[in-house]
């Protein structure tokens, strides 16, 4: 017979309380680990992602707008914040750019690009160009351009 069994036989109430204490301690330890993990994750990711949106009417054909939006090598000539873009828009392609967003530090992230045409059940459709970092090493989570009406994604 083990020592703990002998103790349980001598004082069953004491042993039960001891076990409850171990379970309670385990619960507290787990909670502490979770809180530390939450603080660590929070510190790494910062505050939750926020979303900003703007819309503008362009007096040009959808194909012309798409051409401008996807000609990354020409960004430096018109885009005030994206300079020295290196790469092409195609599914899962990686591009590198010099990004100077106002209110944030200048960064040179590597981003993955996607372009797609989506159609909703109501008959509407959008073309989207998405730039997103593979890891959270930039001030933004993703940047998206949507056009309405849609354009064909050629590149």
């Amino acid at each position: 017979m083990s020592e703990s069994d002998q103790r349980a036989r001598r004082n069953p109430l004491s042993t039960s309380l001891e076990r409850i204490g171990i379970v309670a301690f385990g619960g507290i330890a787990l909670a502490v680990v979770l809180v530390i993990a939450a603080i660590f994750v929070s510190a790494r990711l910062g505050k939750p992602a926020q979303q900003l949106q703007t819309e503008i009417l362009v007096g040009a054909s959808p194909s012309r707008v798409w051409e401008v939006a996807t000609a990354l090598d020409d960004y430096a000539s018109w885009n005030p914040y994206m300079r020295n873009v290196d790469g092409f828009v195609r599914p899962r392609a990686t591009i590198t750019l010099l990004l100077e967003l106002p209110g944030t530090q200048s960064t040179s992230p590597q981003l993955s690009t996607t372009s797609s045409r989506t159609e909703s059940s109501g008959g509407g459709a959008n073309s989207t160009l998405s730039l997103a970092p593979p890891r959270s090493n930039t001030p933004f989570v993703s940047s998206l351009l949507e056009t309405d009406p849609p354009v064909s994604c050629r590149r």
């Binding site: 990711l45 910062g46 505050k47 939750p48 992602a49 926020q50 979303q51 900003l52 949106q53 703007t54 819309e55 503008i56 009417l57 362009v58 007096g59 040009a60 054909s61 959808p62 012309r64 707008v65 401008v68 939006a69 000539s77 018109w78 885009n79 005030p80 914040y81 994206m82 967003l101 106002p102 209110g103 944030t104 959270s136 001030p139 933004f140 989570v141 993703s142 940047s143 998206l144 351009l145 949507e146 056009t147 309405d148 009406p149």
Partner: protein
Amino acid sequence: MQTLNLRGLLLYYQGDAAELLRGLERMAKALKQRAETPEDS
């Protein structure tokens, strides 16, 4: 003239919202200006 509605979205977790929004609007205007400029100019 054919027109197109261009929507820019930005998901971010750092930076000042007002400044970022102004930047997004400025970028949309720049893209509009570029797209409306004849290609041979």
